[in-house]
Amino acid sequence: MYVAVKGGEAAIDNAHRLLAEARRGDPAVPELTVAQIREQMALLVDRVMAEGSLYDPDLAALALKQARGDVVEAVFLVRAYRTTLPRFGASAPVDTGAMAVARRVSATFKDLPGGQVLGPTFDYTHRLIDFALAAEGETEPAAEAEPRDDAGTCPRVTDLLAQDGLIEPSPPDDGAPVGDLTREPVDYPADRALRLQALARGDEGFVLGLGYSTQRGYGRTHPFVGEIRVGEVAVDFVPEELGFPVPLGRIRLTECQMVNQFKGSGTAPPQFTRGYGLTFGQSERKAMAMALVDRALRAEELGEPVASPAQDQEFVLAHCDSLQATGFVEHLKLPHYVDFQAELELVRRLRAEFFRDSDSVQEAAE
C-alpha cells in the first residue's frame, strides 16, 4: 500500500550535512585556506569576480571554497551576496590609458610607445605537466625588467590610430546616465553599454564559443588584436558633498581593443572599427572573446546584415548569463509530476486512437 511521502525537510538537512562533509574531503589532508585559493588559484578567483560582477578576491576565494571549486556555483554565491549590498554611487570612469601594466601586447604594431610587455603569460609555455610542482618546492624569483626610457607612458593603440582618423573615434561621453542591467530589465534593442555589461558578466565558455563562431564565418568581423593590456588602475569616486575625486583603491583589469575592418558606407569613410572587451582580473580569453562579440553585435549599427547568432543581440544577451542558463537547465530535475501526468494521459489517448485506427485499416484491407 502506498503511503504519501513525508520527510522532505529531514532529507534536505541530511543532504546539506553530507555536502559539507564531501566539501571537506579527506580530513587527513590539510584544509585549504581562503588566502591559498586567492593567491594560488588567482585566475579562477578572477573569473568568479568577473562573472560575479563584484571585485573582491577574498570573497571570490571563499565562494570557491564553499562551492567545492564549481565556478558557476561560486559565481552564484557572489552574485547573491552582491545583490544585497547597498549602492552609494558610481565611480568615475577608470582610465585604462594610465594603467600600471603588468602585460601589454599588440598584434598590429611590432613596437609602439610603452613597448610590448609579455608579463606573466601561458603563451609560449610548452604544455608539459611539470611534475616538479608536485614536490611543492619554492619557485625561482622572477627577473627584474630593465627600465625603459618611455616607462610609465603606455598610450592605447586605438588612441594612436585615432590620431590619423584611421579608426572610428570612441563615441564622446554625452553625460547621459549609463543603464544597469542588474537594476532594470533589458529592453530590446539594448544599447552598447548594456550589451557590454551583459558580456562582461557573461559565461566565459559561452562568450568564447560565440567569439569563435565569428572567426569561422558566422558574422565575420576581420579582427586584429590592436592591444591587450593587463594591470592595475585607480578607482576614483566623487562624493556629492565633496565634489572632488577620492581614490577608493586599485583594481586589476584586462582590456582588449580589437581593431576590425570596415569598408565604409555612404555616410562613413573607410576606417577601422572597434570591438571592446574588459574584465576584472586577468582573463585575456574572456576579454578577447568579448571584444569579438561586441563588434559582431554592432552589425546593425554599421549597416551589416544580421544573420548569425553572435550578431543577434536577443540571442546573445538572453543566453550568455551562466546563472540564468544553469538555473533553467538544472530546474528540469525539479519534480514535474503533474505536467508529465498530463502528457501521459494525452499520449495514452493518442496511442489508443492510433491502434484503433490502424486496426480498422487492417480489417478493411483484409
Binding site: T83, R183, G327, H331, L350
Partner: protein, 336 residues
C-alpha cells in the same frame, strides 16, 4: 466592488500607499479582512513562528526593491494578463526554481500573513519545503499546509482543489511567461503581437494540433485569454486547473524571475481557455478516484508500485487528500 472591498483583496503590504511591508521599523496594522478562525490543528501539521534571520530585511528583499515589485504588481493588476517588466533581483536560490514567485511573495508578505507553499500540489516536495523555510527564516511569518488557513499560497504547477476565497493571494512560479514564445522567439516581436492583440498564430497552432492529432495536444501551460484582451500563459499548470482561474475570488499573481516579468489576474476576472466552437476546451478526466481518499474530479498523481506495471492514482493536492481522510473519506487503497 466597493472601495473597502478592494482593500480586502490586498493584505497588509499592498494596502496603504508606500508603507514598507512589515519592514523592520514598520508596525503591522490589523488586517481589514482577517482570515476565518483557524480550524483545530490536524495531527502532524506544520504551523509555527520562528524569529527572522538576523542581518536581512523582513522577507529578505530590501524595502526599495519591494516597492519596485509592488509597483509592477499594481500595474499588472490594472492591466490583467499583461506582462510587466520588472527589475528581478538575483536571489539566493537558482533561476528556474521559483525566484519570480519568491520575489512576488516577498513583496506582498506582511507579518500577519500565513504562508503556504506547494510544488506539484504537495507541501512536502523538496523545493516547496525549501521555499517555505526560506520565508520562515527571513520573515518569521506563520506557515501552514492548509489551503483554508493560508492568506498567501505560492505554487508551482498546481491550483489547490479547495476553492480559494476573497483575500487570498495565489502566487505562481512562472518559467516562460510569454505564451507566444514557442511560436516567436523574439521579445521585440511578441510584445508587438500582444500590443496588436494579434493572436492568429496561436489559433493556427491549436488548429494544427487538431488536424494532426484530432485533439489540441497542449496539456499544460494551456493558453488563456484574460479579461477579453491579453493571451496569457497560466504557467505550466495542467489544463485541468485552468477553469479554477476563471472568476476566482482570490488575487492571482505570476512571477517570472529569470525572464523578469510579472503579470496578474485580479479577482473575479474572466479567464477563458482558447478553443474552437467545434472543439471546445476540455479538461483531463481520470478513470479512477484517489486510492487514498476516494476523491473524484480532482487531479491525480500516478505512482509506480513495482516493475510489473502496478500503479496507483492518488491526489496531487496532498492537503486536500489529508483533509478528506481526516473527515473520514477512504479510498480503495488498491493498485490498478
Amino acid at each position: 466592488m466597493s472601495a473597502t472591498g478592494t482593500h480586502e483583496l490586498f493584505p497588509s503590504p499592498l494596502r496603504g500607499g508606500g508603507r514598507g511591508g512589515g519592514g523592520a521599523e514598520g508596525t503591522t496594522e490589523p488586517r481589514s479582512a482577517p482570515p476565518p478562525p483557524p480550524a483545530p490543528p490536524r495531527k502532524g501539521e506544520e504551523r509555527g513562528r520562528t524569529p527572522s534571520e538576523a542581518g536581512y530585511n523582513f522577507a529578505y528583499l530590501d524595502e526599495g526593491t519591494k516597492r519596485m515589485i509592488r509597483r509592477a504588481i499594481l500595474k499588472a493588476i490594472a492591466v490583467p494578463g499583461y506582462q510587466v517588466p520588472f527589475a528581478s533581483r538575483e536571489m539566493p536560490m537558482p533561476y528556474g526554481w521559483g525566484t519570480g514567485g519568491v520575489q512576488v511573495t516577498a513583496a506582498v508578505l506582511g507579518r500577519a500573513d500565513v504562508l503556504k507553499v506547494i510544488d506539484q500540489g504537495a507541501d512536502d516536495t523538496t523545493n516547496a519545503v525549501s521555499i517555505r523555510r526560506f520565508f520562515a527564516r527571513t520573515s518569521g511569518v506563520a506557515t501552514t499546509t492548509r489551503t483554508t488557513e493560508a492568506t498567501i499560497i505560492q505554487t508551482r504547477h498546481r491550483i489547490p482543489e479547495t476553492p480559494l476565497r476573497e483575500g487570498q493571494i495565489l502566487v505562481y512560479q512562472v518559467p516562460i511567461p510569454e505564451p507566444l514564445r514557442f511560436l516567436e522567439p523574439r521579445e521585440t516581436e511578441t510584445r508587438q503581437l500582444h500590443a496588436l492583440a494579434e493572436y492568429g498564430s496561436m489559433h493556427v497552432k491549436l488548429y494544427e494540433d487538431i488536424s494532426r492529432h484530432g485533439h489540441i495536444a497542449t496539456t499544460y501551460a494551456y493558453p488563456v485569454e484574460v479579461a477579453g484582451r491579453y493571451v496569457m500563459d497560466p504557467s505550466p499548470t495542467p489544463k485541468f486547473d485552468n477553469p479554477k482561474m476563471d472568476h476566482s475570488p482570490a488575487l492571482q499573481l505570476f512571477g517570472a524571475g529569470r525572464e523578469r516579468r510579472i503579470y496578474a489576474v485580479p479577482p473575479y476576472t474572466s479567464v477563458r481557455s482558447l478553443d474552437f466552437e467545434d472543439h471546445p476546451f476540455r479538461v483531463q478526466r481520470f478513470e479512477h478516484p484517489c486510492a487514498l481518499c476516494g476523491a473524484e474530479g480532482v487531479y491525480l498523481d500516478e505512482m509506480l508500485l513495482d516493475d510489473a506495471g502496478r500503479r496507483m492514482f492518488v491526489c496531487s493536492d496532498t492537503d486536500h487528500c489529508e483533509g478528506r481522510r481526516a473527515d473520514g473519506h477512504v479510498g480503495t487503497g488498491e493498485a490498478v
